[in-house]
Subunit: 354 residues, 2 copies
DNA sequence: GGATGGCGGGAGAGCGCTCTCCGGGTGCAC
DNA sequence: GTGCACCCGGAGAGCGCTCTCCCGCCATCC
């Protein structure tokens, strides 16, 4: 069967299929791409020839002429030594994936892309050189656009991408305005939900462990929480800043207990820190939620993984990531599409901890 | 500046740069790719022209002629409804990234790839259709090779990839032999290390919580542990099978305590389950490590995230992933390179839990 | 019956790049 | 001064695909 089908080595081309099917290259292309009316009989013959030759369209050749890579970049962007020290080429990536958050983003993006047979290229931009690399990658058309998840609010990449006129969508509102679409959560509402729940449970001496306050999200959650508490008669809420890691949650809770032993409710900036807080509360003999109620944020795997289900403010990360991918697709297909932002509503998920 | 440089819209091409520099296309190409001796003066002129035009080589065009995509696929492969139910398009991805293991694999791969200015394309192959998609993607030359991480031993993808003659490297030895290179850990040695440590600590009634036993790694860890225990006079070791999740670790530990209340040491198949086990032990009033010593596996973030440092068998996942990428690169550059397997040695990391 | 229209299919021109082949110039040795 | 080797740089083919243009065929209508 393979005698005259593939005289020259290498993968079969459109030409080979055309020869086998007894038609022209153009017709095979039409059938493969499913355009224009092609005689059903010929269609069938072509399809058989495709199977017989084991043909698969060459993506590079197609990209060259259509000017579409059929690929998007998923960029995780940070700044040098973002969270902790600078300790190796893969340390950044390791830190990034230590948080279930990025996994959820990937899951959401992939969920949208999978049915469309496209796949994300994973890129990390931590140093200026890498930012250049990402930019170059996009500019040379290796990817049709970028999904950018910044680890920090001051990330310079979005502005660079926007200046280059490349299609891109951001996760979370950037610290300073950039002419790019983004998806985000109404973080302040999330803080408010947590505050209302704690107050409704009867907490009178609530405190909060925040995430890093140099990102808008952290500030918004805090101010939403604080404002709502103030409106309910608790204007002075103890605040400890954490770093989104379990250990930092433990440390923050320990400090909170030392300084405010009578605390009866804690709103924690993410579930991972909340787990750490619960741990410390347990060690200090506090029962959850009776002595101290704990509300987390995210509704990530950490919220349900332990013995005690965590009451938390749900951030629909997967949906947000999928929406981000959808927006990017629109921007790619319609370059003149105006920039928009889609803000998701948080939702309180009540479990055992509060 | 941009008047005569870019009369036609779109990105500048080699031709444009050549015109500006006053040389031929070929010379620009030579300078850009840094090959053959080109007169330093001309080199400089070309470089200036590149900057002036803002030229970036078109990857598709390059790939078309070099027959190299300059991209590799990082495939996470499983089988329908692998671990739990089949609950949505992104559920698989979400499950995958819930485990810190995959994050470490990504980090290791990226660590190797980053200095080489290549980036992985992330693909998930859960259904037969998706396996076909991955295969097609590889066959059409969209990626030069694949790094395959199988969630299950019976994954059919490696065999398909091997049959197609595509360069690929696996993480972990497949259940049935496949002519592909792979990296792995000496899991049995890991089990042995854990056993020796527990015995050396004075444990006389050790038990084990294993991972899923349908993967070679799980079996090997168990048999290594069991053999070593038997050699040290404890031939009958209670075994409970877990699913690598924290909750399954909790359940397994609870069962173990119910059936063997006098257990004084536990070897747990991964750190995440070990955390769950510790939690349950604490709730049952057992002190760690005095009443019950706990040894985990992996040395993942979970081992150090909690209050109590987990003694664990270190699996250098990042190094293994990097080696996987290195092997793939070799296979791509030297197609006739024989298949090899690189087995890493586990290492006992002693912390507080044992 | 000839003009008209629509549709199925082929021919061919590139997309932007790399790379082989060649030619002309220069330097060195005889 | 001539021959030769070497090196730098240009010309041009062609990678595999899409897509426009065009032609030929058949059905339809006046």
């Amino acid at each position: 069967m393979s005698g005259d089908l593939r005289e020259h080595a290498g993968a079969p081309t459109l030409e080979d299929v055309a020869r086998v099917a007894g038609v022209s290259r153009a017709t095979v292309s039409r059938v493969v791409n499913g355009v224009r009316n092609v005689d059903p009989g010929i269609q069938e013959a072509v399809r058989r020839a495709v199977v017989a030759t084991g043909y698969a369209p060459n993506r590079a050749a197609r990209a060259l002429v259509t000017r579409r890579a059929g690929t998007i970049a998923l960029v995780v962007s940070g700044v040098d030594g973002g969270c902790a020290g600078h300790d190796g080429p893969d340390a950044f990536a390791a830190r990034v994936f230590a948080d279930p958050f990025f996994g959820r983003v990937v899951a959401g993006v992939v969920g949208f892309l999978r049915p469309r047979a496209t796949h994300p290229v994973l890129m990390f931009a931590e140093t200026p050189a890498e930012r250049e690399q990402v930019l170059g990658y996009l500019r040379q058309g290796s990817a049709d656009g970028a999904l950018i998840v910044s680890a920090h609010g001051e990330d310079p990449l979005p502005a660079l991408v926007a200046a280059a006129g490349l299609p891109a969508v951001l996760f979370a509102r950037p610290a300073r305005p950039v002419p790019l679409s983004h998806v985000d959560l109404a973080h302040a509402d999330g803080g408010r939900l947590a505050a209302e729940h704690l107050v409704a449970r009867g907490c009178r001496r609530a405190a909060t462990i925040t995430g890093p306050l140099d990102v808008p999200a952290g500030q918004d959650r805090l101010s939403g929480f604080r404002d709502a508490m103030a409106r309910r008669g608790q204007p002075y809420v103890p605040i400890v800043e954490g770093r989104f890691t379990q250990r930092s949650g433990e440390e923050a809770m320990a400090r909170l207990l030392a300084e405010h032993p009578d605390v009866d409710g804690v709103f924690v900036g993410n579930d991972v820190m909340a787990r750490g807080a619960c741990q410390v509360l347990g060690e200090h003999g506090r029962r959850i939620p009776d002595d101290v109620a704990v509300v987390g944020f995210d509704d990530s795997a950490a919220a349900t993984s332990g013995r005690l289900g965590l009451t938390t403010v749900r951030q629909p990360v997967e949906d947000m990531a999928a929406e981000m991918a959808r927006l990017l697709q629109e921007h790619i297909e319609t370059p003149e599409r105006p920039v928009t932002s889609v803000v998701f509503a948080p939702e309180l998920v009540v479990r055992e901890s509060a």
